[in-house]
Structure formats: C-alpha cells, structure tokens
Symmetry: C2
Subunit: 554 residues, 2 copies
C-alpha cells in the first residue's frame, strides 16, 4: 500500500475570492477516493461576463471521476461556498453534509434546482465525525460573519489535514460560536500534514476587531439620529443584523427588515436555533405608518446590487417607503473591490435626496476574515507541517505562503487545478487537472470559453451589422439589405451608414465573379470584409457582422 | 443697467469628477456675455458606456449661444480639463487661453482634431490679465499634480469671482510652482463674490502631504531592490516622474520611460521650460541590454488601462522588456474608484510572475487635490462671500457646501445645468439649462440618449437573434432563417435554439392571416414576440431581436 497517497486539488477559490470548491483524495494513484469541500458561486460583472447570472467552478474533472466521490462537505452558508450545490448536484450525486443552519440553506438550494433536499444531511460539530470512504471528517466551529461556520479536521490513513473554512478570530461574535482556541488546539492535536487556510485578509496588517466592538458605536449613532435611520449590511451577517436591530430598539425605534434575502436569513437563523432574542420587527406595510423619527429600516444591497432594497430606495419608493432630507443611511459594510461604481451611484442618489450617509467602515464594520496577525496565530494553533493558502486571488495566496514561511512552516501555492501530493515530506504540485469556470446564463450552463460571452462583449464594443443578400440561381436578386444595432446612424460622410453600406455592398455584388457568388463562405467573407471596412471608415470602428445569404432556386 | 447680472453655469464637472466645463456670464438677463473655463473629457466604462471612446459635456446650450462666447480659458493640462478642446472647438470658435505648458497640450489637441493650433494663445500668470468682453481674467499659479496649474481671478463690472481650478496646498511640489499664500491673498484681495472651489478630496480629513515627502521614501525603496524596478504613475504627474527617475539615478540605475503619454508629457515639460535637470534616460531598445539590477522603468498605466505599458508588461513582453521573478513593481499612484478590477487583474498577473508589488498609496503617493483642512484654509485665504463647490460628484459638492457653511461662508450646491445668479446677496439657482453628455464613438459624436449605447448594453445582456423571412406576393417563400449571436446554442429542450426558433416561427407563418402577412409592422411584431418567448422558455432570457422581412414581387 506504499502507493496510496493523500492529495489536495482546488477546483475553485484558489485564484479568486469566490466559487470555492476544494477536493481531497486518498488512495492509489489515479484511484483516490475523493471528497469535495464547498461548492460555491461567484458573481459576474459587465466587463468580463455581461448577461451572465452566476459563475461556478467547472466540475468536468470531478464529474468524470464521480464514481470515486464519497461526499460533499459545506463549511458555511455563504453563497461562495454553498451557492452551486443545487445547480451542480445532479452531476455529482454524493451526499451533502453540513451543520444545521448551513444545511437549511443547502436544502433550499437543492429545492430551487429541483433536487431532493434529503440528500443534505445535518451533522453535529466536533467531536462528532462523518465517515466518507477512507475519510473521517469533523466540523470544528469557528467564528465568521455567518452563524455555524466550521473548519474541517480531515483524517485519512495517510494522516490528518485541516481545512480552515472562512474564519476570523472573534471571542465575542454576537451570534454564533466564539472562537475557541482550546477546542481548536484539541481538535487539531498531533501531527497535521497540511493546513488549508483562508487568505482573504492577508494584506490587512492589524489584528481583527470583534463584532462586539461595533455595538456601542452603532447604538450611539442611531440614538443621535433626528429622522429615519436606514442601515445596510450583508443579509447573511446575522450577528450584524441583530446588532443593528438592537441599536434601533435601544433608541425606541420600530425595526423593519427590507429585502427578501434579509428576511429569509433571519427566519432560517431563528428556525435553526442559532438566533435568539432578535428584537421584534414590523412588516413594511406597518412601517409606513410609524413616525419617521421612530423608525429604523435594515435593508439588503450593501454592494449596490441594482435590484436590492438599497438601490430601490436610492431610485425612489420601495414598498411604499422612501428616504427624505435629513434621514441617515448607514453602510455597516465594506465595498468589495469591483463594486465601487454601483455603490457610488447610490451614494450620489442619496446625496441628491439630502440623505446623510455614514460609511466609516473602520468604525461601523468588521471583516469576517482573519487579518495577518490572526492568520499567523492560527498557523501556530493548528501547527501543521505545511500551510496551503486558499480562498484568495493569486496575490493573496502568494503573500500568505510568504507569511507562512516566515513563520517557520512549509508552504506551497496551489491554484485551481493544481494537484498537491500531501504524502511527501515536502508537498508539491504533481499534476494539473482541468479547472475552468462555467456560467449560469438564464437557465442554461455554458462554458467560459464557448465564445458566447465573447460575442456579447464584441457586440457591446463594436455594434452589430446584419447584411442580407438574396440570390436567385447564383445571381443577386434585388439589392443587399442592412440592419444596424448599436452603431451611430450617420458617419463621417454625413450619409446614413446603412445607405453607404448597402451602396458599397451592392457595388461589390454587381461586379462579383460567378465563382464568388456560388461559394457561400467566400461570399460571406467578402461581404463581412467590406462591411467592416465601411464601418471603420465611416464610424471609426469595425463592427461585428452577421451575413445572411438566402438562395432561391427556380 | 441694474438688470446686468453675473452668472455661473457648470456644464460639466459639477456632478462628476471629470469633463469639466464651467461657464461664467455677465450682462443683461439672457444676453450675458460668456466665457468658458475648461473643456475636458471623462472616461467610459463597460457597465454604462461600452464601446465609447470618450465622454464630453453636451455643449448644445453654449453652441446655441456661441455669438455671446468671448473666450475659453484652460486652467491646466489634465485630460478632464483640456481633453475636449480639439473635438468641440469647431462648434464654439472662441479664442483659447492657457499658460505655456497647458497651451502646448491644447495645441496638440487642436491639431489632432484638424483645428488651427494658433487659436490657442499663451498667457502669462497673474498679475497679467486677459480681457474678454466684460471679463478680466488672471491666471494665478497654484500647486497641483501637473505643472503650471492655475486658478482664475475673474473680474467683471458686477464684481469678482475666483475659480480655484484643481489644486492642493503644497509648499514643495517638486516641479511647478509652490503654493504661494501671499500671492493668493494679494490676487484675491478685496470683495470676492464667490469662490468656485475643487471638491475632490472633501472626504479626506487630514492635511495633505507634500510631493517632496515622497522622495526619501521612494529613494530608499529603489535602493533596496535586488532586481529590476518598474514604477508607474500618471504620465502627467511630471513631478512624480522626476522623483521616480531621480530615485533610479541615485541607485545607479539606467532610467527608461515606457509609454507614449509618458514620453510626450516629459518632452512637453522640457520644451516649455517647466522641467529642468531631468535625469538622463535611455530608449527601450537600449534598456534591453542593461543588466536588470541596474535598470529602472517608469511606465504608463497606473489605472490598469488595457493598452498602457503596465498592462502590456502584465501580459508578457513589451518592447522586448519583461518582468521576472523577484523584480519590483511600484504603484506610485492611487486607484481611481471604478478602476479596481483592471488594477487587480494586473496585480494578480504580476503575482503569477513572482513580481513583488509595492502599492502603499500612503507612503509612495500623494494626491493632487486639497484635503478638507486645506480646503478650509483656502476658503479663508480667498475670503469670498459664497463658496460654490465644483469638481465633484453630488456627494462631494453637498459635503463641501456643508464644510463651507460650518466655516461661516454662504454656499450653494449647483450641479451641471444649474444657473446661479451671483449678483444677489444670497446666490441661488435661478434657471436650469440643458447639460447632458455626449460620447465620442470611434470618430463620431453621439448623444448619451440616442439609444445606441442602450442597444449595445441590451445585446451584451440578452444576446441578439436575427430573424429572416422572405415573402413572395405576401406569402412565405421557404422557411424563416434564424441567426444567433451571444446566446447559448442549446436550451432546456436540448434541441438547437435556432431549430426551435425556426420551427415555431414557421408554424406561425403557415397559419398567419393574410392581413398580418401584408403588414410589415404587424408581421415584425409577431415574429419578435415569438422569438422573445422562445428564448425565454429555452434559455431563460428575452433576446434582442432584429427581424428582416424581404418581399419579392413577381
């Protein structure tokens, strides 16, 4: 059995912050039994993925090996860890294990995708373990910005590895379990081969603050507000929502939650018992009748999402509620890089309404991820031989590896698709498997490299010209017809672009050799070439061109 | 003449940071003589303006009144102040005044747009003045992140107004004039009706640092680097480019400037005499032969621009130069909100190469704009009755007005298109003129509301389906033909989307009433409706649809 090995293969999350999906394997080379940790999504942007609804890790390699897959473990209920469970489960078909609150979300994902929610099994935390093939997995509670997060202690015949999940070191997280160093020391005692560790905040140099530090500040702020107060945070940050609601209550305000995600998250937290003593809330229809100075709204949309409550309030009324001059809007959140434009649009819309914005993210927000000193502390608590950075862009992984080495640990940067053999004394990448991305586009899953999104981007940059030509017995019947979408109607010659195009295309057809007219490919190439040249001359950009040649026969 | 009034009308820059264009007027109501201060551009983004090359203020109102326009004044050579001079001059046709370095740039803009560069006149700084209609205008030197910036002191028969231009308070700006409080006190002595003031950094609470503070830090950093050093900053920040080059020289490195904008800016600065003692540089072809540890590149592209030198180096070779493991890349710059994604892409590409990135923007960068305490100081120096915030998004203008009022000044928030009557003791908005945006799209100027860009965005979000139908004597000839761009080829029914569409459209045509087949509009509407329904059912999104009906007649 000397050929058995222990491997780690990130398929998502090691090269971006998002779409987490990490595989562990144990067994003979190429026949390892496998488990998958997390199955999340990441979000599209207009620049690189216009029209796309969600981005997920490409599971091709795992699907090809799904007879070897024994289980899926979900560390916590954030979308980048659980969001793809429903969509991708039917291709993987392994039991899904999670703690109660997370399982509640995973089951909803399964239902939404038409899968059986009973495939999701609720597990108890460490010292309980789940056996899956050669793996014994324990969920060790860890503090994060959502209840019931867990790191995993994974035992195999080749030794132990520890998977941090997302975490921060918070001794008073408000809702959910406090970080328990003694428990972590005990759960990870003995030889640990490797520690797969969250890298998100490796560039933040100060120790993280506790969620509990915010309460006093937020309470003071809300108490001093003369008119309506509206606050936004991530819906999944149940502790923060509670902190905000308590501040409202303490100031004698009625509290109203706005946004489906927010209400659903609080319901799930109450149902699964992780949330107790949440202040009484009122529904939006009652909120309209409460004097504004006695009202506090807690709303979704801290990242500027166009359809969330914050953006709706910035555009005007939402469920009959609206903001007025002198109201206060609190961002109890941090803008994720890339979302600045949407958030700034909202700040300016509120400014036009005369709303006072508070967005000091040092005072009214703490991150859910461990900063550098806390990462170093966690490295020492787990005491693994090797630290393998995960949950980060390349720059985070690389920096985290540096930090680990400076702390006296081995480290290896493993990006999506890299297979690391953890059996050796010095782990290193032994192979690369396919690890791309797929897109949920409406109801359909497409590959990132299918060219579909590339075509959309090209149309958005260059406009689209449709050229129609009808041929009868290989001779033009009438003149070509041009339709234009997304291009100026008139170019430098001051004649309509469509007219110039039709004229030039017609000239070409009149003179074209029979050989060209008989050959669809050649004809299309020529018509496309002329169209691009004309749009370049007239507008200064080469349009995307679709040529439709219709051939009639006698 | 009691009806003469003094007015201020921002057409761009008061509601965004960019495309500055401010009008002042003096004379009888509706017949005021006018001057324009600055004529800049702003930059497009994929989210709201895909395919657009530049964004400029809509000059419709000013063009309609151009017989009243006496002059254009350009405060400094940043693109958001001078960038539209060439493109829009032919519509305005008034003399352009600027100081030498700025005039150098304005002339190039004129030449590039095929206009006469001699329309740009070089002016000397205060106490010299330019007379333009009823206006006397003096250019008062002020420190900023580009040489020869000026604020304007504008005298009219109705009194004096002061226009700050972009500025910071820097006593040692490196290149260009230091802030001279005594000069500013003298130039603005006496009654000042209104002070139009830069609002960019109103949310930065600490006093600004001097450019000279950076030199020591950068020198230390470069001296300690073991391999090649590459640094980026704004090309127009001539002082910073010099600081960087001097740090390279002090470390015994050959210095090479990469990127057309960078070389052109330094040339202009040398030509106009604002830059002296710039370290000797070598051309890229020589840089290839210099040992890496003796080389320093100073490059364009600090904002992640795809075609600039930084992005090119992140993708691989640029002019035969490339980055290696252990090289250092310094961002001596700050990422402008909205540009994060592009910059982060570059950070990760460098990380994959093993390049060490330094981007501490507190240590290696200072802003060109006055922070709040410096704004307050400047309010007091100018001592105007009213402070009118400009050069900012709405949130900056509103906050700046608050700050001014707290300092004991009157203030009024005037956004693009708002006409402020400055003659009254308490200035307020008396009218709104049209003040939208226009886009340079390739070589053509289009309106923001023309629908062209909206169509591009729709194609990018929803894909584009082209439906072709040929009718002969109002009866379908053959079957409809569908082309698809930017949509998945196969939908939920697992049949090709084009086939499903053609089938359903054909079914419709076979059964369509003669009345429908004879009516182009009706026929197109029906074909579009069916196409959108099918794409919704199959893909989950309603495609953009172009219908082409060709009618043949016997």
């Amino acid at each position: 059995m000397s050929q058995n090995r222990l491997i780690y293969v990130p398929l998502g999350g090691a090269g971006e912050i998002g779409m987490n999906a990490y595989v562990y394997g144990y067994g003979p080379v190429g026949q390892e039994r496998l488990i998958l940790v997390d199955l999340g999504v990441t979000f599209p942007d207009m620049e690189t993925t216009p029209g796309v609804d969600l981005i997920m890790a490409d599971m091709t390699w795992l699907v090809e090996n799904r007879d070897r897959l024994d289980a899926i473990f979900i560390t916590h209920a954030h979308e980048d860890h659980v969001g793809a469970v429903g969509r991708l489960w039917s291709e993987l078909r392994a039991p899904v294990y999670a703690r109660a609150f997370t399982a509640n979300h995973a089951r909803r994902k399964m239902e939404e995708a038409g899968q059986d929610p009973d495939e999701v099994l609720t597990v108890e935390p460490w010292p309980e373990t789940v056996e899956a093939g050669p793996f014994k997995v324990a969920f060790v509670p860890i503090s994060h910005s959502i209840p019931e997060s867990a790191g995993l202690v994974i035992d195999t015949p080749a030794g132990r590895v520890v998977h941090s999940g997302d975490f921060k070191i918070d001794l008073e997280p408000g809702v959910g379990e406090a970080f328990d160093e003694a428990m972590w020391r005990e759960a990870t005692a003995g030889r640990v081969r490797a520690f797969m560790c969250d890298s998100t905040n490796v560039f933040s140099m100060h120790p993280g603050r506790s969620e509990s530090d915010l309460g006093v500040e937020i309470e003071k702020l809300v108490a001093g507000a003369p008119h309506m107060v509206v606050a936004t945070t991530f819906a999944s940050n149940v502790a923060r929502v509670k902190t905000l609601a308590e501040a409202g209550q303490a100031a004698g305000r009625s509290v109203c939650l706005l946004g489906r995600a927010m209400r659903r998250m609080i319901e799930a937290a109450v149902e699964t018992g992780v949330l107790e003593d949440f202040p009484k809330t009122i529904p939006p229809e009652d909120a309209r009748d409460v004097p504004r100075e006695n009202l506090m709204l807690i709303v979704t949309g801290s990242q500027g999402e166009r359809r969330a409550a914050t953006a709706q309030l910035a555009r005007g009324k939402y469920l009959g509620l609206e903001m007025h001059e002198g109201d206060m809007f609190l961002f109890s959140s941090k803008t994720i890089p890339g979302n600045e434009r949407g958030v700034i649009r909202i700040l300016n819309a509120f400014s036009e309404m005369g709303v006072d914005i508070v967005s000091d993210d040092d005072r009214y927000h703490v991150s859910g991820h461990a900063n550098r000193p806390d990462l170093e502390r966690m490295h020492r608590i787990v005491g693994a031989e090797t630290v393998v950075p995960m949950h980060g862009e390349h720059r985070h992984l690389r920096e985290h590896a540096k930090v680990a080495k400076e702390g006296g640990f081995q480290s290896v940067v493993a990006v999506n698709g890299a297979m690391v053999d953890l059996t050796k004394a010095t782990p290193h990448v032994v192979e690369h498997v396919e690890a791309d991305r797929v897109y949920l586009d409406g109801k359909v899953i497409i590959g990132a490299l299918d060219g579909i999104v590339r075509d959309r981007i090209r149309m958005a940059l260059n406009g689209h010209v449709i050229v129609n030509v009808i041929l009868e017995d290989d001779a033009p019947l009438g003149e070509p017809w041009v339709e234009i979408m997304g291009l100026p109607e008139v170019g430098t010659s001051r004649a309509p672009l469509a007219d110039v195009l039709e004229e030039d295309l017609n000239q070409f057809l009149m003179r074209a050799a029979d050989k060209t007219l008989r050959d669809d490919d050649k004809l299309e190439d020529e018509l496309r070439r002329i169209t691009r040249k004309v749009t370049q001359d007239e507008i200064g950009k080469k349009a995307e061109v679709t040529v439709v040649v219709s051939r009639l026969e006698e």
